[in-house]
């Protein structure tokens, strides 16, 4: 087993005048859950497509489990869930899954057995109804996503690549996906997923890489990244009363450098030299009912915003609301 599931060295990809990925180098440790984080248009999906050999890099090298990414034998060890889900709409679910399994080298009865197992696991086959016999376009969107997810994992890949896996999922299916990712990790599989949902990344990932404008901003283990960007942050939760007095305290630059206000929950970065005890005393004196006052590490979201900023979208990326998105 190689140390790195994915080893990307100085990879660049250009489209006409636009550079989607610029001199990217990153390593995904084998057996880890790796988060590829970045705003829309950062180059996440382009990077994933290059890993999967769907598009070729203009320069640089990509190795998967120590072999070049264009090695045909390596594709059977990969499972890919694209951001924009797509299946053959007129095909029966079971036939689609069998086709996808055959493309990955799983055939015959073994494929049927695995399909049954997964359909039952994701509640698509119950004593009342076997959705496997239905056509794809007869399924709800959530069910189609489940089918696509089964197609990704049916051949038990060693490396699972999930592009924005949580987009469009309801909380129940999102939780099922998280459970599956954790299960894959337990079984020694490597999972890499792109997302811009930082709390999911923070909870699931062992390591992360933040990219923006096609360039790597930072990477490393989640713990390491947090320690590296360690600040004196305070999590503050208040009860409903006494909120008025808090605003003036948060505006005091001698105490607070920055505050992330979520109505009754605040993530506060202390000003240099400020004493947290002074801050607590002033909050209590303001009459606010304190439920929680805790020194914490910065969240990934905070690090992300600090490193990437809020103005990182590519020119023209506003058109994304029309449905064009590239990670």
């Amino acid at each position: 087993m190689t140390e790195y599931a994915i080893d990307i060295v100085n990879v660049t990809k250009r489209y006409a005048e636009h550079t989607a990925v610029r001199d990217l180098t990153l390593r995904v440790p084998t057996g880890s859950v790796y988060g590829l984080l970045g705003p829309n248009g950062a180059g996440k999906t382009t990077t994933i497509r290059m890993i999967l050999n769907i598009i070729a890099p203009d320069s640089g090298m990509i190795h998967i489990f120590g072999r070049p990414s264009n090695d045909p034998k390596i594709t059977e060890r990969l499972g890919y869930l694209p951001e924009e889900r797509g299946l053959y709409r007129k095909m029966q679910v079971r036939r689609v899954l069998k086709f996808l399994a055959e493309l990955k080298g799983v055939r015959g009865k073994e494929a049927d057995r695995r399909i049954d197992e997964w359909l039952e696991r994701l509640s698509l086959k119950t004593p009342e109804k076997d959705w496997g016999l239905s056509k794809i376009d007869e399924l709800s969107r959530g069910m189609q996503q489940k089918v696509q997810f089964i197609g990704t994992l049916l051949h038990d890949p060693d490396l699972v690549i999930l592009d924005e896996p949580f987009s469009g999922l309801d909380p129940i299916n999102a939780q099922a996906l998280k459970d599956t990712v954790v299960d894959l990790k337990r079984r020694g599989k490597t999972v890499i997923f792109s997302t811009h949902l930082m709390d999911n990344a923070e909870r699931l990932c062992d390591s992360v890489c933040i990219i923006a404008r096609g360039e790597k901003v930072l990477d490393g283990t989640v713990t390491g990244v947090k320690e590296e960007h360690g600040q004196r942050n305070i999590a503050l939760a208040l009860d409903g009363d006494g909120m008025e007095g808090i605003a003036s305290i948060l505006r005091d630059n001698s105490l607070v450098k920055r505050a992330d206000d979520s109505n009754r929950f605040f993530e506060i970065e202390l000003a240099p030299g400020a004493d947290p005890q002074v801050l607590l005393r002033r909050i209590v004196e303001s009459g606010a009912a304190v439920q929680r006052f805790e020194m914490i590490q910065p969240s990934l979201l905070e690090i992300f915003l600090k490193k990437v900023g809020t103005n990182v979208r590519e020119p023209g990326a506003d058109a994304w609301s029309g449905g064009v998105e590239e990670g």
């Binding site: 999967l52 890919y80 924009e84 889900r85 055959e102």
Partner: protein, 319 residues
């Protein structure tokens, strides 16, 4: 190879199972036959009608031109007529009205009313300008019928020609006898193995095969294109391309769709063969007499039908 086979299998089975395949296989030959039969039927419908004989010729030439024109319009279908008299009316012959040039307008008005009352189909006006080969007029309900107008126009030309020949002392019938050459030109192809039958049959066979190839390439090529489009729009292509190289994917599509086309054409040929063999009981079921094999095949399968019908026809029919 296993991945290529998986793609071929999917392309083939999904298409063969589809309603499109069932419909195309069943209605395809009917559609193709319609392509051949409908234009032929339309052409037969556009042949000159008997209405052309129910016209009036307003003759303002004062030379008997109208009478000769009437005979020429009637052609072979009219009974023998005597044109020496004033106005001769045969069973299927236009009526000739000799009018003075000054009364032509009035005669036209009268003829128009007759046409409006549907007593007549239309009227032809011939005058000195017609004799000079410059102009003639027709008005009638069948003015849009290309065949009728062509017949009248040709008859006028023929009559002018005959008039001119008479002027220089040539007999029209004699001229026809000299210029009519009903040459029967048969062709036979010789190959390395000797005589290979009718040259025309070979041309028709080649044309038929070429047409089949053309249709196959257009139809099945379009099927491949729509399959690629479907995969691009539904984003399945991305999943498939993460598993197989693009050339394998395309090869699988081409072979799969090609196999569908072969299946369809084999079914058509097999159906034609079975229908051909069972035509007697089938026709008997409908109380119809058994038709000849070539005629039957022409109905079942337009291409082969066209070929064999041509071969089975007597030569005179070709002419």
């Amino acid at each position: 190879m296993a991945k290529l086979w998986a793609i071929i299998k999917r392309e083939y089975l999904e298409r063969v199972r589809s309603k499109w395949f069932m419909i195309a296989t069943f209605f395809g030959p009917i559609f193709f036959a319609a392509i051949i039969i409908v234009p032929a039927w339309m052409a037969s419908k556009s042949k000159s009608t008997s209405e052309v004989y129910n016209t009036i010729i307003l003759d303002a030439t004062d030379t008997g031109f109208g009478d000769r024109l009437a005979v020429n319009i009637a052609g072979d279908t009219t009974i023998a007529v005597n044109i020496a008299g004033d106005t001769t009316i045969a069973a299927r012959m236009p009526t000739v009205l000799r009018v003075a040039p000054s009364e032509l307008t009035k005669a036209e008005s009268t003829a128009t009313r007759e046409v409006m009352r549907k007593e007549r189909t239309g009227y032809v006006v011939v005058d000195q300008q017609t004799l000079a080969g410059e102009s003639a007029r027709y008005a009638g309900t069948n003015a849009t019928s290309i065949a009728d107008m062509t017949q009248i126009k040709n008859a006028i030309r023929q009559t002018i020609l005959a008039t001119r020949l008479q002027k220089v002392g040539l007999d029209n019938e004699k001229m026809k006898e000299i210029t009519f050459i009903p040459l029967d030109f048969t062709t036979e192809r010789i190959t390395e193995r000797g005589r290979a039958g009718s040259g025309m049959a070979s041309v028709l066979f080649g044309f038929s095969i070429g047409f089949l190839l053309y249709l196959s390439i257009v139809i099945y090529g379009q099927t491949i294109m729509s399959g690629v489009l479907e995969e691009k729009t539904t984003r399945v292509a991305e999943v498939v391309m993460s598993s197989v190289p693009t050339d394998t994917l395309l090869a699988g599509k081409v072979l799969g769709v090609g196999a569908v086309g072969l299946t369809q054409q084999i079914l058509w040929i097999a159906t034609t063969y079975v229908l051909l063999k069972l035509r007697a009981p089938i026709m008997a079921t409908f109380g119809a007499p058994t038709i000849s094999e070539p005629a039957c095949s022409s109905c079942c399968f337009f291409c082969w039908g066209s070929f064999s019908t041509r071969r089975s026809m007597p030569r005179s029919a070709h002419r």
